[in-house]
């Protein structure tokens, strides 16, 4: 009985890839290579190493930006959740950023800061931080009163109550915010690369498109999506490891 989820996962994966393969063979568009063609192209760029060079360029600002956004975002969110004054002052900015299409700012940022590491990190940060700050702030502010009172009753110091009670209690929502922030960060990084800078994985995508090498383009896209999925899965595992008691079953976002 335990095999069932695995069988179904394999089944659904093969369904999708099979559909891809078949539609590639139908002459709908010469720009739609089959699954097999794209995977071969993927092996080619793995073998000649160009994919790794590209990812060095992409991943540096991406991971740096995510790391900074997580630390700063949770820190600011914590402050927002604990202080009513700070919340009033700072939340509206993040609320506006959250609702608005931040992607529109990316061309501007590239104009202002050029095409180097700093600007890419900045792009990732402005895409990722709002949701992390808002989620953290909300969770902290809505920590059940009873459990904070318990901390007081058992003589917890302010620091204890924040780090041993409020933050763990908020962790499911904080992690949900982190997942959303990470996806937004990925979007920002790729957008920056597709739009202007001839670097990283975005460059492989744009270049191969411009010379009509569609299998490589699809291969590169496949690889970045795969990477994003693995990274998010990894985040989930970290959450489960740190906060085993939070996993009460299926929760989506």
């Amino acid at each position: 009985m335990n095999h069932r989820p695995l069988y179904l996962k394999i089944l659904s994966a093969s369904l999708l890839f099979g559909a891809w393969e078949i539609s590639g063979r139908i002459p709908v568009s010469f720009a739609f290579p089959t699954f097999v063609e794209s995977m071969s192209a993927l092996f080619v760029i793995i073998k000649d190493g160009s994919i790794f060079v590209a990812y060095m360029d992409t991943l540096q600002p991406l991971f740096l930006g995510i790391f900074i956004s997580a630390i700063l975002g949770i820190g600011i969110g914590l402050w927002v959740g604990l202080s009513e004054k700070f919340n009033w002052l700072v939340s509206p900015i993040f609320i506006v950023m959250q609702a608005a299409p931040l992607a529109a700012l990316i061309p501007l940022l590239i104009m202002v800061y050029g095409v180097d590491l700093t600007s890419k990190v900045f792009v990732v940060c402005i895409m990722a931080m709002p949701v992390i700050v808002l989620n953290t702030g909300n969770a902290v502010r809505n920590t059940p009163f009873s459990i904070k009172e318990m901390g007081q009753a058992f003589l917890g110091s302010k620091k204890d109550i924040i780090f041993k009670i409020i933050l763990p209690s908020s962790s499911p929502i904080i992690f949900a915010g982190l997942r959303l922030g990470v996806s937004a960060g990925f979007i920002g990084a790729i957008l920056a690369e597709l739009k202007i800078t001839p670097t990283g994985i975005g460059d492989i995508i744009s270049y191969s498109r411009s010379v009509g090498d569609y299998p490589t383009m699809y291969a590169a896209i496949f690889s970045i999506i795969l990477l994003a999925v693995f990274f998010l899965n990894f985040l989930e595992r970290i959450e489960n490891y740190l906060f085993k008691g939070n996993n009460k079953g299926y929760i989506s976002d």
Binding site: S146, I147, M150, A153, L155, K244, G245, N246
Partner: protein
């Protein structure tokens, strides 16, 4: 302060008032809680019993008056008092043993020591084997036992219980009441117990303080004594027990909306 009084009285509430803006939750309340006994605060909703309990615990500040615990005036939580919460207040992300040891953890006791203390009390409340379970895997009754073990583990003189059995089912509740009787005999602590159930109060208490609302005041103090030596099952049939329950019900009846 009379020395002989401080020897017998664990907690003394003197002229405590509590206002919330315009509302007077407690007005000039005075009450003594004898050492080593279980005193109930019994009354209908709105009579301020939980407010009084939290003031004694130091979780709420009194607007005026003072609370004296073992001869010392108190205004904040302290190692001499431990609290058991109505909704258990367990940390859902932590295992049972971590929850029980939490009071000790906050006091800086090292891990080995506090876990061994926690083990003892987990066994005492009947949860042996569940040390590494999580709250969501336990029933309501079991969760409250964790809360109780946590309060016992810090070894405070005074145990404050805020309607601790109201969130569990009836059968579990009865069992808890019987267990509480044993606990009071064994632990030699002072228990202050808030409840709105008359039967519960008369069953477990050495002394019942009946509180009435608007304005909140102690209307009378009853000391059931005749059936204390009887065993758990017989008490509920004892005629003094039934009389006291009836008496209290008649006097409280007019306050039920």
């Amino acid at each position: 302060m009379n020395d002989s009084i401080t020897n017998n009285i664990a907690v003394s509430v003197k002229n405590v008032s509590k206002n919330y803006g315009e509302t007077e939750a407690l007005k000039d309340m005075s009450l003594d809680f004898p050492k080593g006994q279980l005193t109930s605060l019994l009354g209908p909703s709105g009579c301020g019993k939980t407010t009084l309990l939290k003031i004694i615990a130091g979780l709420l500040p009194a607007t005026s008056g003072e609370v004296i615990v073992n001869g010392v005036k108190v205004t904040t939580p302290g190692p001499d008092r431990a609290f058991v919460f109505q909704d258990f207040a367990l940390m859902p992300w932590a295992s049972v043993i971590r929850n029980v040891a939490f009071g000790l953890e906050l006091r800086g006791v090292n891990k080995t020591e506090r876990e061994s203390i926690a083990h003892k009390y987990i066994g005492d409340v009947g949860l042996k084997g569940f040390e590494h379970s999580y709250p969501h895997e336990l029933s309501g009754g079991m969760r409250q036992r964790v809360g109780l073990a946590r309060a016992l583990a810090v070894n405070a003189d005074v145990l404050l219980m805020d309607e601790p059995f109201s969130a569990v089912d009836e059968q579990t509740r009865r069992k808890f009441q019987e267990d509480l009787l044993n606990l009071v005999k064994v632990e030699k602590k002072t228990f202050i117990f808030v409840t709105h159930s008359i039967e519960e109060a008369v069953y477990v208490s050495d002394q019942i303080a009946i509180l009435l609302p608007r304005p909140s005041r102690v209307s009378e103090i009853i000391k059931p004594s005749g059936f204390k030596h009887k065993d758990a099952d017989s008490i509920r049939k004892d005629s003094e027990y039934l009389d006291i329950v009836d008496r209290i019900w008649k006097s409280l009846r007019t306050y039920v909306q």
